[in-house]
Symmetry: C2
Subunit: 401 residues, 2 copies
């Protein structure tokens, strides 16, 4: 059958223009302040093309001239930097014990970052949608006051999200087949921008790639480290979602057939042996999800004080985590695995054992070069990544109309 949708699509001159707009935009993002001549010299585009592209980007207020001139021999040059000030991208994360909201401008500058407690484990999906919509409306109100145009809202959820934005299963929220994108669009009364839904691990990985400390590694795995343990898998610079969008479910990989029962009903899952629940089960057996943050603070306090039992627990759980990391290293050979969420405060005492287990379990010499690092982004990562997902589309040359 002859079908326009088989195989790669042809390139035309509009594609060339979009690609080159993206090249200029990303070059300025990485190198600002810089001149038109710098852009031409480094990208291989000719000066006339660069001038035309820059004019287009300035007109859409994606670039601006800084008025600065570089200290150089010869004529002074007008320097460029990112603008993007009239726009905003909004990300919200729903999790078991909190909601977060982040808004960024197109330069990636944070416009707001809010976090509030939220009873995710007990709220029904309609209650959760109402809470997310209320939070979104407050963010939109704020952006409106700042005369910013909102380019989109993207929501992070700790669960399996299909390619249409439907949450198929979110074990720790107790959700099944929730059309979050559709319901939220209705609750916001068709706000005139796209509402996207994605897995929190995927969005955390995007945030790490763009804003994290790993230098934009092209092969990166991000572990969420919340009540659930999910992952986002970035290979060759792009998020890899798998055939149905369910890739990255590292939390339910079986680490030990004889291990404890997981909330998903299986035994010895990574989440059950090395998630924050496993930590608290040993150190604070009566904690409930709503009390997670103070309980984790207490564990940190004990560890800082050198409490032997706490240190032993964290080391042992770090080793179990490392066995999961070895699976990631063997299968994906990322440049870096970044630990987020509650692994950020707890990682200091888990990392040595985790790294040792990764090296031991990796068939490639020296762990295949895989680094293990603690995220600098904390619990805001997924919401930040939700906003970053919207910036990625601008960066690929799909400019706002």
């Amino acid at each position: 059958m002859i079908n326009a949708h088989t195989g790669p699509q042809p390139a035309d001159f509009a594609d060339v223009r979009a690609t080159n707009l993206a090249v200029v935009l990303r070059f300025v993002r990485d190198n600002a302040p810089c001149s038109r001549a710098d852009i031409a010299a480094s990208t291989g585009l000719n000066k006339a093309t660069v001038s035309s592209l820059v004019a287009d980007l300035i007109e859409r207020r994606l670039l601006k001239e800084t008025g600065l001139t570089e200290n150089r021999v010869g004529r002074p040059a007008t320097m460029l930097m990112l603008d993007g000030s009239p726009y905003a991208a909004v990300g919200i994360e729903v999790n078991v014990d909190y909601l977060t909201a982040v808004a960024v401008d197109l330069a990636g500058t944070e416009l707001l970052s809010w976090r509030r407690a939220f009873p995710g484990a007990t709220a029904t999906p309609p209650q959760a949608i109402a809470a997310v919509a209320a939070l979104a409306r407050r963010v939109l109100g704020r952006m409106g006051k700042e005369s910013r145009r909102v380019l989109g809202l993207s929501v992070a959820v700790p669960g399996l999200v299909d390619l249409g934005g439907c949450v198929r299963v979110a074990p720790n929220l107790g959700w099944r087949d929730v059309d979050l994108a559709g319901d939220l669009t209705k609750a916001l009364r068709d706000p005139g921008f796209p509402v996207l839904v994605d897995n929190d691990g995927n969005l955390g990985a995007l945030a790490e790639h763009r804003f994290g400390g790993s230098g934009g590694a092209a092969n990166l795995v991000y572990l969420t480290g919340e009540v659930g343990v999910g992952a986002g898998v970035l290979m060759d610079g792009r998020l890899r979602r798998g055939g149905a969008g369910f890739a990255g479910e590292v939390g339910h990989i079986q680490i030990d057939p004889a291990g404890p029962r997981c909330r998903c009903g299986r035994h010895g899952c990574l989440e059950a042996v090395a998630g924050v629940g496993a930590v608290l089960r040993r150190t604070a057996p009566d904690a409930t999800p709503a009390e997670l943050e103070p309980e984790v603070d207490e564990v940190v306090r004990l560890a800082r004080g050198g409490d032997a039992e706490t240190l032993r627990s964290l080391e042992s759980i770090g080793g179990d985590l490392g066995r999961g990391l070895a699976i990631l290293a063997n299968l994906l050979n990322p440049d870096v695995i970044v630990l987020g969420g509650y692994y950020v405060p707890l990682g200091e005492w888990m990392l040595p054992a985790a790294r040792a287990e990764l090296a031991r379990g990796s068939v490639a010499p020296a762990g295949g070069g895989v680094r293990v690092e603690i995220s600098a982004l904390g619990h805001g990562a997924a919401a930040l990544g939700a906003a970053a997902r919207l910036l990625d589309s601008i960066d690929s040359g799909r400019l706002p109309a």
Copy 2:
């Protein structure tokens, strides 16, 4: 720092031409025989551009006119199909118990497929290189007699191959840091075409993608099923190699901490619990690698005859394999996992238990839609994939000079 190598590269008109040549070539591959008008209608390229692209491809003997005309209303049209007859791509696989060689033309038609016993477990690297070079020379001689230009030689190895073609570790061959690409180029006295080296799982995945029964699934994992168990991971239509090229080492993922010792020195690796070695350990404990094929034949004979002990063993090993497949399903959510090598003759009795374990261990409903299939390519897959790797570069528009 301003650096020409940061960020994406700009597109220019040469890229557009290459992209469009690739679009036409792949369209004809998928839809031949077809006319220039069909290509224009389905790709969106205008007719003048299509005529110019087709002329270029005919001149390089990548396409040819078949002389047929389609049964249609209006003027008869000249139909096109792939040619590529003056070219050959050569693939060779080195494994523990055999060498294979495959040559294909640019249409993917097999020109030769040879297999011979080879003592890979005991041969030294220089002996192996000499044997591969001798086999390569015979293939090159045959291609010369057919007046075909060899576009490249690509070699598959069951081990960790770095991005420069050096075999870092091949546990079942006993190799460490063997510069196979370099040594082979020397042994062939600079043959005037590229010599590439890659992991057998990677190349098997390429072969499955192009020639296998899975309909060109964009997200595909191929398991080698030889003495070692390796994987090639294809996501979003491309092989994903990881940061250092070591992705896909599924064979050394720990399935059971209490499991048997693996040849890599660890315990309970997938290869140790569910590789062909695990099968023979139960059914033919005295087999050596040189005797693998007849021993596997004997297992198949017993299974066919309904031998209860053999069937029980294969079912149990199938279950262990399925626990490994569940890890792949959770982490990568491929469209399909294809089992190759010795899993081809043995799969019939292992698959039901393997599929059941995959479904049980997958957090996504219905195993996330992951299919598990037996390869139709058999032991020739890696060598065929090695040749296919060379075709892929033509298909992406990098035409022979």
